[in-house]
């Protein structure tokens, strides 16, 4: 069936009649730019956090509508708070990962000292479902003899 295009319009850009003092217009423009920049930084933080999810506060929403200067300021401040929270969460996660990596190094050096300890790949910030665990070599015999080793499980279960 042939396309029949009978009209094509490009909306003219909306008329600029803000009717505000240049000071307020400049303030609004600055706040909008800050909001856009903060959203880009939050997006980058969300991507960095993946596959974890950042639990950020829900911002009050009353849109879509033109925001007042006060609302834009509140939004900007809320986004700064969210960004600070996101960065703290990422920093905490990195500290936990560093600690887990150091613990794994210790486990590999002296398995007998860390018997039955398990560290998941996700705790190390590595993809996949593998788990590093300290297990006795040759089962009960190894446990009695003190033959401990670190083993990495084979990974994610196959899809059913």
């Amino acid at each position: 069936m042939a396309a029949l295009l009978i009209d094509h319009g490009v909306g003219s850009e909306l008329p600029a009649q803000l009717g505000l003092g240049s000071g307020e217009a400049a303030a609004r423009s600055t706040l909008r730019a800050q909001v856009a920049q903060l959203d880009r930084l939050l997006s980058a933080a969300a991507c960095e956090a993946f596959p974890d999810r950042l639990d950020l506060p829900v911002l009050p929403a009353r849109g879509p509508r033109l925001q007042s200067l006060g609302e834009l300021e509140l939004l900007r401040d809320a986004l700064i708070g969210s960004l600070r929270q996101a960065r703290e969460a990422l920093a905490t996660r990195e500290l936990e990962r560093t600690a887990a990596r150091e613990l794994l190094e210790q486990m590999l050096l002296d398995p007998a000292k860390y018997r039955r300890l398990r560290i998941a790949q996700s705790e190390l910030g590595v993809g996949g479902c593998g788990v590093w665990s300290v297990m006795p070599r040759l089962g009960p015999m190894g446990r009695l003899m003190g033959w401990w080793r670190v083993k990495l499980s084979s990974g994610c279960p196959l899809a059913a």
Binding site: M1, A2, A3, L4, L5, I6, D7, H8, G9, V10, G11, S12, E13, L14, P15, A16, Q17, L18, G19, L20, A25, R28, R32, V35, A36, D39, R40, S43, A44, A46, C47, F50, P51, L56, V58, L59, A61, R62, G63, P64, R65, L66, Q67, E71, L72, L75, L79
Partner: protein, 201 residues
């Protein structure tokens, strides 16, 4: 207030294109393209999408007009989330498939109106006191898509019958909402893809 929109958001506008739809059954070619697009998105890509230019522009605009895009995702993020939850882009009907195809290809949302009920030009403006959209009163200042005769729908909300395109609609008015930071090429591409998919051209 509507006059201030242009100064507040330079580049914000609605573009439109008319097309015909004589056959409302799903098109197999469009279905194949949707299936191919479905495999383009994994969980990581769905999250990283927000850093691309066009989706980021819609996210910023959502924030600037008071919508939290993490609670009410932008149309492209909503579509990708829907694909992840449903496991694929399931065909619905020719109009819905055409609009989804345009959205996934360009990240620009396109809505379809019945051209028998809605005529161009289309504009974006703020609601006035006492205005009614889809039978419900809207708060003054709410951003709307509107024709010269009537308000059509809230910005980024789907239009409701009888204005929305349905299975009886033969002539459609496709409308793309373009926000600051999105190029005219993306708008043209979205409207052309949707019109071609819907009219079968």
């Amino acid at each position: 207030m509507s006059g201030g929109l242009g100064a507040e958001f330079p580049g914000l506008r609605a573009d439109w294109l008319c097309c015909q739809c004589r056959n409302h059954r799903c098109d197999s070619g469009v279905g194949e393209r949707l299936a191919r697009l479905a495999s383009r998105f994994s969980g990581r890509q769905a999250i990283e999408l927000r850093q691309q230019q066009v989706p980021a522009a819609y996210r910023s605009f959502f924030r600037q007009v008071g919508i939290d895009p993490d609670q009410h995702p932008t149309p492209i993020e909503q579509a990708v989330l829907g694909r992840l939850l449903s496991g694929g882009n399931l065909p619905q009907d020719r109009i819905s498939d055409g609009l989804l195809l345009a959205l996934l290809e360009t990240s620009v949302p396109v809505v379809a109106f019945d051209a028998a009920a809605v005529s161009s030009p289309i504009e974006i403006r703020a609601a006035e006191r006492g205005e009614v959209v889809a039978g419900l009163g809207v708060e003054p200042g709410t951003l709307l898509l509107a024709s010269a005769e009537q308000p059509l729908c809230q910005l980024f909300s789907p239009p409701a019958p009888p204005l929305s395109a349905g299975l009886e609609s033969e002539r459609l008015l496709l409308v793309a909402v373009i926000v600051p930071g999105v190029s005219a090429i993306a708008s043209d591409e979205a409207l052309t893809i949707a019109a071609a998919a819907i009219s079968g051209g």
